[in-house]
Point group: C2
Chain length 418, copies 2
């Protein structure tokens, strides 16, 4: 069976190196070293830039999708172009053409999950998407395994390498969000348009994939509450450090009785001495909780060429290894009717920092907090108020804080994890 690759960017070239260029141990899964030629190879790469050097003569660049769709020697397509519409169409066309598909495209999987799974099943092929969540962390496969025995009821994690890099740097250097983002952009760790990362769309897509799988129904990106990390300032880092907290960007969903699903993507504060607080830079961590196994956590590189290519090639190997087997994997079912009921289940103490124009505004902020929570700590310094509240429901605090934003010039708030 031959393999086609869609896209020869960073991850694509990493995959090509692992499969065609003898980096890593891919070939050892098929043959003795002497018989290297019988292991599957990438023979075609769909790529607009025909001047790219693949590094060997086994594969060649093609620009017309039909060269892949109509090539019967190609049984497996690895879709790594990114973006939405074209890759979605290509994945559909490949499945319809009876080709197995591996992709890292979280946007496509999150948006068209049910449709693509159904298409794969109808055409007797397999769709795999390990690298769409957590980069090199083997979370998709592990979640499927645990679901064979467990009812999974909770998923949480640090799911975005860019924002975790930014928050780690801010914590390390006591820096502002804006300057740290600019630095991350300058070294290629953040996109020119960072919206998807810093406003939570990337995390919520990943959380939607994991939640849909775990709870066996569709949770879409837009069903998930999200709040970005752009309001965090150096003064927050300084205050939180002095209080013993570290801010992390957490995706979190919980399945409760009656198929109620609560989900959120937001900055959350962890005690300095905790596992989550010590997941730094481009590393991610994902926690799943099952009724038999309890909590499992998986930690690794959430981004990067080699780690992500490793996950992609692992999927490819899985498919290459089951061709001809009588026991194909049981298709995932996403047909449970889930109720997306917001963030009502989350609660905790809250940290709030408000920049004050005058004394009047301090009274306004403290008054607003007092309508819903006890103030446990109040520090006023340099025209800023820092408040830590008693335990309070997330919904109540969020509503109060968003209302405050209408008059107070600058606010940052985050729940303390407990």
């Amino acid at each position: 069976m031959n393999i086609a690759l869609l896209g020869f960017g960073t991850i694509g070239s990493g995959v090509y190196e692992l499969i065609n260029l003898n980096k890593g141990k891919f070939a050892s899964n098929f043959t003795d070293l002497e018989a290297r030629k019988s292991s599957p190879v990438i023979t075609k790469v769909l790529e607009r830039d025909t001047t790219k050097d693949l590094g060997d003569d086994v594969g060649r660049i093609v620009t017309d999708p039909r060269e892949i769709l109509e090539d019967d020697s190609i049984g497996l397509v690895i879709a790594l172009m990114g973006g939405m519409d074209f890759e979605y169409k290509m994945i559909k066309d490949c499945l319809k053409a009876g080709k197995h598909v591996v992709t890292a495209n979280k946007a496509v999987i999150s948006e068209y999950f049910q449709e693509l799974l159904t298409l794969a099943e109808e055409n007797g092929v397999v769709l795999r998407y390990e690298a769409s969540v957590g980069g090199g962390i083997p979370i998709i496969g592990s979640l499927k395994e645990e679901m064979k025995i467990n009812r999974v009821t909770e998923i949480k994690g640090i799911l975005n390498g860019t924002t975790n890099f930014i928050l780690s740097k801010m914590t390390e250097e006591g820096a502002d969000f804006g300057e740290t983002l600019a630095m991350a952009q300058s070294i290629g760790f953040a996109e020119a348009d960072p919206t998807a990362d810093v406003e939570g769309y990337d995390v919520s897509r990943k959380l939607s994939i994991l939640s849909s799988m775990a709870y066996e129904g569709i949770i879409k990106d837009e069903d998930i509450y999200k709040r970005g990390i752009t309001d965090i300032r150096a003064v927050d880092i300084e205050m939180l450090t002095s209080m013993g907290y570290v801010v992390k960007y957490l995706g979190h969903s919980i399945l409760e009785e009656k198929n109620n699903v609560y989900s959120t993507v937001e900055p959350v504060l962890f005690k300095e001495a905790s596992i989550m607080s010590n997941v730094n830079s481009e590393f991610n961590i994902i926690s799943i909780t099952g009724d038999i196994i309890g909590e499992l956590q998986f930690y690794g590189k959430g981004a990067g060429k080699d780690a992500t290519a490793n996950a992609v090639v692992g999927d490819a190997l899985y498919i290459l290894n089951i061709v001809g087997d009588q026991n194909l994997p049981k298709p995932l079912r996403l047909n449970r009717k889930l109720n997306k009921v917001g963030t009502a289940i989350f609660k905790g103490k809250y940290y709030l920092r408000a920049n004050l124009n005058d004394k009047e505004m301090l009274n306004q902020v403290l008054g607003a907090v007092e309508t819903i929570a006890e103030r446990k700590t109040v520090i006023v310094n340099d025209n800023r108020a820092y408040v830590v509240t008693s335990v309070i429901a997330a919904n109540d605090f969020n509503m109060m804080a968003e209302k405050l934003k209408e008059t107070v010039p600058e606010i940052f708030y985050a729940r303390i994890y407990e």
Copy 2:
């Protein structure tokens, strides 16, 4: 295919509940709920105590091994008796009889790894042992997966629930080892004879299994340097806490050039703000490093009925799902000649506490340290000396400290992880 269970202790009864008594989702892997009866069940349980209540009428207790070995309806045997000689013989006899085997017995796997793998291959059956390391953590399967693409060169982890529970309690309560062990024994978290746990035999067996797999050669229990945790006192906990360190019991092995393998099981000090320091109580964590994927960490319950039974039943499901497939898993090869070269690669600052009879002994301790390292910190208090050294090779420090023990009445020392 029917299943037989060897042993109906804690884990055995947990496995029985998952497979036969509809706890968890095991049955959903085979049938619609209406057709429950077609899923595999445990029909025989080998157990000396015939008065035990299995909880259903599907399985029955047998006392003669031949009732299982000679029963052709039994295709899979789950070996959970523990101990060494009898379970070893049973596993061998089952493999020879053409039955797949799942076991949690780390002692048997660690000691007879190569022989049992060969026996399984010769008889066309599968041997699985996920629960032998890390309880409910899916480390064996994950390691195998990563090895398809990666050369794994390092393994480290907190691998023993009993000692991690004891160390966590000691740290939490500033308690001595002796009293904490007694408490753990009283609530069933430590055995009446705790030697295998507190002297490192349990950890080194698990590390031997992981290292043998990862480095593709045999590393035995006795090839691994080990030092117990019995010397740790409340005064150490107090001093280490004040310095910002947490003591953990770490198994650690490294593969270097020329097939040199370094390995150690010993108490190691981690900064309070680190992932390892925050793995508490019965939880375990295992880190593997591959040349493509980088570092992956797996966290979960290292012991306990349900979590361990989950891992055992996961193995059983794996086997039940591949019966009849044309692509059986590639057998593990353990035929690389590895050189077991001790602990020479490990180095770090060292913490040493010595109880002193007199001023003369203080000079003796400081003199001994100075022959091999710079003293960075020395605190003398209440007839005890606490020393933190400069970075030094583990071999040098261990030799110096063991020699000191000949004259100094009580010593504890541990490397600071870096």
